[in-house]
């Protein structure tokens, strides 16, 4: 087995702080393996993490790592990628950090679609602080802050992240190892914002309360709860593991292009003086003429004038160059009409 991924880990800091049986170790190891496999190294890869058990992951990686305040990992990662596009940026954090306190950065960073890869260790609990209910805790689960069972439905990260194309969202567990590895690999290769939701176990502060004796029993539970789906999917149901991705941004509606009328040379046009122009003010069935930048336009067809002498502050039969320049609309409103002469 290739053990070269170990150079990406700070082995001098081991043993780590995580409890025996915790899923974070598997996340750290597999991410390190996948990063190594990509040929990335400590000179071109940055690990960013938030707070919590999983936030400690960046500290065990032999990369330049940034350990941000609670919930701010995504903003930090996005900025690092903006300032240094040559660096590969991965985010290693937990569900409480990314989805609860970091909910707003999650919405907005995914919207701005920076080229970063997020690995979310989703253990459905606040582990480091002692086992409080988190945003992804399933409804009805007893925790130390929900003694009668969590009263609210969990946040569906997949639904949030797949609102806007392009997106990459993968759900996997630490138990389904090959699927897990494939998800990490694909996420690292994805150009743009990619999010891997790794269902992980917290045996000490969640599993025991749920009635599991060992981490292995929790893995078996994951096996019962989830099944892997293949192929292109738009959404993952709650019991499905897989990758959903869409690369193409929705096409914007094509904007209407203004018709370009052929330009007459200004000398060929019929000359009008201001007095002559004043005559054409729309009264008594006469056409409505106005002057703009030296040209006379026939505004009789304008639905806004409707045979009236005046439309708001624009008066027919006048030179409206100044009025239109300060008007809230552009000059293209005038260009729609035909030129009938020039102002002398």
């Amino acid at each position: 087995m290739d053990r070269s991924y170990k150079e990406l880990l700070k082995l001098r800091r081991f043993p780590h702080t995580w409890c025996p049986g915790c899923g974070i170790g598997a996340v750290l190891k597999n991410v390190a393996m996948a990063v190594k496999e990509q040929g990335w190294n400590y000179q071109n890869t940055i690990a960013v993490s938030g707070i919590g058990c999983s936030g400690r992951m960046s500290g065990y990686m032999n990369l330049d790592a940034v350990h941000t305040p609670h919930g701010r990992a995504l903003t930090s990662a996005e900025t690092i990628k903006t300032v240094r596009p040559d660096l590969n940026v991965i985010v290693l954090s937990g569900d409480g950090d990314l989805a609860s306190i970091g909910g707003n950065p999650l919405l907005h960073t995914s919207r701005r679609n920076p080229d970063i890869t997020v690995f979310c260790n989703d253990n459905e609990i606040y582990g480091l602080t002692g086992g409080q209910a988190g945003p992804t805790t399933p409804k009805g689960t007893k925790t130390i802050t929900s003694p009668r069972g969590e009263p609210y439905s969990p946040l569906r990260l997949g639904r949030i992240l797949t609102q806007q194309a392009p997106y990459f969202y993968a759900r996997t567990t630490v138990y389904h190892l090959n699927h897990f590895k494939a998800c990490i690999r694909e996420a690292l290769l994805w150009k743009g914002f990619s999010f891997v939701d790794i269902i992980s176990d917290c045996i000490e502060l969640n599993g025991r309360r749920l009635g599991f004796k060992t981490a292995h029993q929790m893995f078996k539970w994951f096996d019962e709860r989830f099944h892997i789906v293949e192929g292109q999917r738009e959404h993952l149901r709650e019991d499905e593991l897989g990758i959903v991705k869409v690369l193409v941004e929705e096409k914007l509606r094509p904007t209407e292009k203004a018709e370009v009328k052929p330009e007459f040379p200004i000398e060929d046009l019929k000359p009008f003086t201001l007095e002559q122009l004043q005559h054409f003010d729309g009264s008594g069935g006469k056409p409505i003429y106005i002057a703009y930048k030296g040209r006379i336009y026939d505004l009789s067809a304008s639905p806004l004038f409707q045979g009236e002498k005046r439309m708001r502050c624009h008066i027919a039969g006048k030179d409206l160059t100044k009025d239109i320049d300060i008007a809230p609309h552009g000059e293209d409103l005038v260009f729609k009409f035909s030129v009938v002469g020039r102002l002398v």
Binding site: R56, D64, V66, P69, S76, T79, R84, L87
Partner: protein
């Protein structure tokens, strides 16, 4: 050539001159013009990166991350936004990231009176975030000084490896003056921190040793780190002992004012001595002690209920009177009567 420049424009131009290449911000009056200028500048110069963040929390985190990544970064906000940035301000001291926070103050608390000027965020620069930290803060009082002190703030940030705060107020931000920014020469301190990409370092707000190893139960390591931070800040603070002193020979009273209030009361210089601190924090202890020796009365005129006065009182260990211009009311006549009343009360 002289141009009509506003305080906000001067702050932005100062940052550009000193080599800033990243701005993140969130719209808030009266600092929004800096955000707009950044957007326009970034449009023309793609190497200047700009982010309109989703909130001030993200903006502050973004500039510190940009600083770690190697850019000279800054943000601009006002009191309510600065409250949201406090978390990042503490983190910035923890990870030792040089960057600049511009805080154009308005009346608080909370939304307060948008957007009447005030000078009431002084305690926030020192005590808003958790734990002990030692910020450096400057406060200009003219458009030209906005330009110069922005550059100074960036330099102090690079030297002290921490966020530096440039204070302004709603008056100053929207004050237009004729200035020739081109002809002003400034010193530029180059980037002092090695950017990301060297490997094996950990930038964390958790207590850590020099190698970046987290030390959560080692008081010695924490003390060592904090004293180093404090010493560095004191050293850099001493390098910029900026103040302005206008003595009046026959005056027994010293007026202390800074920022826009110092401009308003400048016409009182024929009756009183005026001292204007430019470096607001660390407090100009030595200078204040020296200057105030010969005066019987000290009156601090400021746009808050005695925030700076309490610091002066602390430093001098003697009674300091205050004239609090609250709610955006900075009228010279009113200030004058208040000063007279202070003096009457003391003589009684």
């Amino acid at each position: 050539m002289k141009d009509l420049v506003s305080g906000n424009e001067a702050i932005f131009q100062g940052a550009i001159r000193v080599g800033a290449s990243y701005f993140a911000g969130y719209p808030i009056s009266p600092s929004s013009e800096i955000l707009q200028q950044a957007a326009l500048h970034s449009d023309k110069n793609p190497e200047f990166r700009f982010l309109q963040a989703e909130d001030e929390i993200a903006a502050a985190i973004a500039i510190i991350s940009a600083s770690l990544a190697g850019a000279k970064a800054f943000t601009a906000t006002s009191g309510p936004g600065f409250s949201l940035m406090q978390e990042a301000l503490g983190w910035g001291h923890g990870v030792e990231a040089p960057c600049v926070f511009v805080n154009s103050m308005r009346v608080g608390p909370s939304t307060g009176m948008p957007t009447q000027p005030a000078q009431s965020d002084l305690l926030q620069i020192k005590a808003g975030s958790a734990g002990d930290y030692y910020p450096i803060a400057f406060y200009p009082n003219s458009v030209e000084e906005c330009f110069r002190l922005t550059a100074t703030a960036f330099n102090a940030a690079e030297e002290s490896l921490s966020p530096v705060i440039l204070l302004a107020d709603a008056f100053l931000s929207h004050l237009y003056e004729m200035v020739d920014l081109e002809s002003i020469t400034i010193d530029i301190v180059p980037r002092s921190k090695e950017p990301l990409g060297r490997g094996q370092r950990l930038f964390t707000g958790t207590a850590h040793d020099k190698l970046g190893n987290v030390k959560t139960n080692d008081p010695e390591a924490y003390r060592g780190w904090l004293w180093e931070l404090k010493n560095r800040h004191d050293r850099v603070g001493e390098k910029y002992p900026l103040f302005e002193y206008l003595p009046h020979k026959s005056s027994e009273t010293l007026l202390i004012a800074f920022g826009i209030t110092s401009r308003i009361i400048s016409s009182l210089k024929n009756r009183f001595s005026i001292f204007r601190p430019i470096r607001i924090y660390p407090v100009l202890e030595k200078e204040l002690k020296e200057v105030t020796q010969s005066y019987r009365h000290i009156i601090v005129v400021e746009g808050s209920d005695g925030q700076y006065a309490s610091w002066v009182e602390c430093v001098l260990c003697r009674r300091v009177m205050k004239v609090a211009c609250l709610g955006g009311g900075f009228k010279l006549k009113w200030i004058q009567t208040q000063i007279e009343e202070c003096l009457k009360e003391v003589r009684r």
